[in-house]
């Protein structure tokens, strides 16, 4: 039977209501009162594994093997027993009729003609393709792997392990998210390492720089509010008047991508008034006086005000307050580094923190994120290549994987010819909707011989795949999760059995290994045994044990633990740069072709033809392409919009609710207008998301322009997502 995608989903939804084991009817309680007639409710500990600051501790409520509801874990000291709106929708994800339930194949790719196949057939097809490519090209390099942040559970690094166990492959390397800021802090401090966010209660002054906590890290708000109750002032600097900015004592609508200029203006004024913490800066850093000279000769308040659009008296006000109200905390968001000068802007803000002595202090810090609690074993990730594997000879002469740029994925896949890329394996990743230049991505997928995707939903990437393998949700798996923001670590228990025929990345790897070795003995090194709990247990090591003060992972079943670290990062003054000091002057940056000092680097100017900047920030109702497709979210937020300032809208004859075509040379999208003065007349805003049964995708107009930094610590520069210029018309 040939079905279109829509029919397929509709058909299975109807079937689920009648025949399937699990559906919403089983879940729905009587709406008037809780139904107590069933087996006693069991609870399990889980951790939300999404790419999110908050990485919430969760308690799942399970009755008769069915997930009844999900709440926050009160033993988690940062998320404190509460979830964000996304966290409360999980039953709709787990029991969604739209879930990928079985291994399925699509013939031909992109047709929507899906047929259910057995796990054995899926593994047989995949293993034979891998072996055929290997014999055709003499290596497994034609197989390209792309995984990022769909599930940040540590056991999910088994997806990488799948690849390393079949040989050397082509790998999408990098992170689209935050690399420019990571490199900035790597040049300055040696790595990224933020204060405990709970320590923000001790701040006397707070600057949220391009950070929208209300949508992306809502559990930090109570700590910020506590600081405010104690008298701290909250300043939010953002081109968009976000929900967070709406709460600020002072909101500054800065000219996009000029954050460094504002920080330089502040620095100059602080210098002129001698509010500099000379002792801290000179004792802890190298190159500080060199930067002071730069400030004196190159920076004026006039210039800073002109660049940023921020009046001079406001620059003076925040400079004075930031430098004299101690400790003062800054939180640098990820949006502000998604520019061609984004990393450099973060370096300048870092220097501002150093000059005022706010680094290494409780209640202070230039806070961006950290990876201090991620010292797991990565046992599932590390497998030796099978004997005789041929790899790619890198510039250092070493044989290994062939790394290509995750942030220019479509281009880099197509550019390989020795050997070419013929097969893609995607896990925890949806480039079909999340990568820049969607048209190029679609073309590249079409050029492949074979595409395998592991996922839970028929998203854009799955729609372009030959085989989809059904992924478990985190309630169906054992795992362990850390956060890149707070200091807590939690164990994730299997609360319910895997639904339908879904499997975790590690279980898939074990199956593939069995099949490959049956077809060609010795062709895959991935272990073929281990229970999900055993795999999670193997991620623990003495370092993690001592960081958490436990001797066995099972102690985490009693509650998540907070890492034993000081509330202030860098409190010991032991920086991890080559000089072991803060490097205001960074030789490493210079060696990498960047300015050695945190000096101003020009922002990208709008081309004449496309004078409007299109921002596509993180949405409120989803995390990238996750959550928004769920029925509860579709009720809460049924359709995408573009926020347009009334003055700009009038210029283009656009009224509230009109359909607007947004376009440039790369592509176009059509979306409904919402007129609002929360954005400026130069910037329109449309939040990235994957809506159910919709082709809406902000990335059709987005060029894969690299940001200035990222290569040093993450392998590749980031994407300047927010340097995207378009024009609009009434559609």
């Amino acid at each position: 039977m040939k079905l279109s995608r829509r029919q397929f989903i509709g058909g299975t939804a109807a079937a689920a209501a009648g025949a399937a084991l699990f559906n919403f009817n089983l879940l729905t309680k009587s709406v008037t009162a809780a139904d107590d007639s069933l087996e006693e409710m069991k609870t399990f500990r889980n951790v939300c594994p999404r790419n999110c600051y908050d990485t919430c501790g969760q308690i799942s409520y399970v009755q008769n093997g069915i997930l009844k509801k999900v709440e926050g874990d009160p033993k988690h000291g940062y998320t404190n027993g509460k979830l964000c709106l996304k966290g409360y929708t999980y039953t709709r994800r787990v029991y969604s009729p739209d879930r990928v339930k079985y291994p399925m194949k699509q013939t031909p790719r992109g047709s929507g003609n899906w047929t259910r196949i057995s796990w054995d057939e899926a593994m047989d097809t995949i293993a034979k393709k891998i072996l055929e490519l290997k014999s055709r090209y003499g290596s497994t390099l034609p197989i390209c792997f792309n995984k990022y942040s769909g599930n940040f559970g540590i056991v999910h690094y088994g997806a990488e392990g799948t690849m390393s166990s079949i040989g050397y492959t082509t790998r999408a390397l990098g992170t689209p998210c935050w690399p420019a800021g990571i490199d900035a802090q790597t040049y300055d401090f040696g790595t990224l390492y933020s204060n405990d966010p709970e320590d923000m209660v001790n701040a006397k002054y707070l600057i949220l720089w391009g950070q929208n906590a209300a949508w992306t890290a809502i559990h930090t708000l109570p700590f910020i509010n506590k600081a405010r109750e104690r008298g701290a002032k909250l300043v939010v600097i953002d081109p968009v008047l976000t929900s967070t900015a709406s709460k600020a004592d002072l909101y500054i609508q800065i000219n996009s991508s000029t954050d460094g200029a504002l920080a330089l203006g502040m620095a100059r004024y602080i210098l002129d008034n001698n509010w500099v913490d000379w002792d801290y800066a000179r004792n802890n850093s190298v190159g500080f006086d060199e930067w002071v000279d730069y400030l004196k000769t190159n920076i004026t308040l006039d210039w800073a005000s002109e660049k940023t659009g921020v009046p001079q008296d406001i620059i003076r006000e925040i400079a004075r307050e930031y430098a004299t109200t101690k400790p003062a905390s800054m939180w640098v968001g990820y949006g502000m580094q998604r520019h061609i000068n984004g990393g450099q802007n973060v370096r300048i803000i870092d220097a501002l923190g150093v000059m005022t002595g706010n680094v290494g202090k409780s209640g202070g810090g230039v806070n961006y994120g950290h990876l201090e609690t991620w010292g797991f074993s990565y046992n599932a990730m590390v497998n030796p290549a099978p004997k005789g594997s041929k790899g790619f000879i890198g510039p250092d002469g070493k044989e290994g994987d062939r790394n290509i740029n995750m942030n220019n994925f479509a281009h880099d896949v197509m550019a390989q010819n020795d050997p070419p890329v013929k097969m893609l394996w995607l896990a925890c990743r949806n480039p079909g909707s999340q990568d820049p230049d969607t048209n190029a991505i679609e073309k590249m997928f079409a050029a492949m011989e074979f595409v395998v995707t592991v996922d839970s939903f028929f998203n854009k990437t799955v729609q372009m795949s030959d085989i989809v393998l059904p992924a478990t949700t985190h309630f169906e798996d054992w795992d362990v999760m850390a956060s890149y923001w707070h200091y807590w670590i939690g164990i994730n228990q299997r609360a319910i059995d895997p639904l339908y025929e879904s499997k975790s990345d590690v279980e898939i790897a074990m199956l593939l290994s069995e099949k490959m070795n049956a077809l060609e003995p010795g062709s895959c090194t991935f272990p073929t045994s281990g229970t999900p709990e055993e795999w999670a247990a193997k991620e623990f090591n003495p370092g993690i044990h001592s960081l958490l003060g436990i001797s066995d992972y099972r102690e985490l079943i009693e509650g998540p633990r907070k890492a034993k670290m000081t509330p202030a990062s860098w409190a010991d003054g032991k920086f991890r740069t080559p000089s072991k000091k803060i490097e205001i002057h960074s030789d490493l940056a210079e060696k990498n072709g960047l300015p050695a000092l945190p000096v101003w680097v020009e922002d990208m100017k709008a081309p004449e033809k496309y004078p409007i900047r299109l921002f596509t920030p993180h949405p409120q109702h989803g995390l990238h392409s996750q959550f928004q497709n769920l029925d509860w979210m579709m009720t809460a937020n049924p359709e995408p919009k573009v926020e347009i300032h009334p003055v700009l809208a009038a210029k283009y004859g656009i009224s509230e609710g009109d359909k607007v075509k947004i376009y440039n040379d790369l592509g176009s999208i059509i979306v409904k207008a919402h007129l609002t003065r929360t954005t400026s007349p130069e910037v329109i805003v449309s939040y990235e998301a994957w809506y159910k049964d919709s082709n809406f995708n902000v990335n059709y107009t987005l060029k894969a322009t690299p940001s200035d930094m990222g290569k040093q610590a993450t392998g590749n520069n980031g994407v300047a997502f927010h340097d995207n210029f378009v024009t609009i018309e009434k559609a």
Partner: protein, 188 residues
């Protein structure tokens, strides 16, 4: 009636996150369409500065509940503590209450062809717990309160917000604290 329970919503603290709305759905595993609790955005033009401002509203457990008055099968009752309870089993789905309620709070469930609404988590309240929405609100913008003279005399407590129907119609058991706006440096 000895007391009147209700909600106090603080727009100064609320960030419009819709956590309360989803926590309610999570607690009762409702179908997609009915929104027992709903977060609304206040109109920019009603305030001096354009800001993202919100309020969250479920059933207001009115002192003078129109829903109860018009319901032909007596599906609505008002408890001693003021909670207006809707009995889903009695409901025949005639939707008269939908028309009567000035706040659109009885929600029609098209799949079940019946009405459902917030019952103020009375089963949780009877156990001494907070309503699910109140328990979920991260900035503590939403509170369960007793509506009384003392509350109405507190500084900043409002009986209505711009754009809402007059509270005289049903005397809703909800009070508001209006949004506070900071200083803005704008580009327009």
């Amino acid at each position: 009636m000895t007391k009147q329970l209700g909600f106090l919503h603080n727009s100064e603290k609320c960030v419009g996150c819709q956590g309360c709305e989803m926590a309610c759905k999570n607690e009762y595993q409702t179908d997609a369409a009915p929104r027992w609790r709903q977060v609304f955005q206040l109109r920019e033009e009603d305030y001096s500065l354009p800001t993202r401002m919100f309020f969250s509203m479920a059933c207001n457990h009115c002192a003078n509940p129109e829903c109860l008055r018009v319901c032909p099968v007596k599906a609505y009752t008002k408890r001693e503590d003021g909670i207006v309870v809707h009995d889903h089993d009695r409901c025949i789905g005639c939707r008269l209450c939908l028309m009567a309620c000035p706040y659109d709070r009885p929600q029609f469930n098209p799949a079940q062809k019946k009405v459902e609404k917030c019952n103020l988590c009375y089963q949780r309240i009877d156990k001494g717990e907070k309503p699910a929405c109140v328990a979920a609100c991260i900035p503590e913008a939403l509170q369960l309160v007793e509506i009384n003279e003392a509350l109405d005399q507190r500084m900043g407590v409002l009986k209505t917000l711009p754009g809402l129907p007059s509270p005289d119609i049903t005397q809703p058991a909800i009070r508001f604290i209006g949004p506070k706006q900071g200083k803005q440096i704008r580009r327009d």
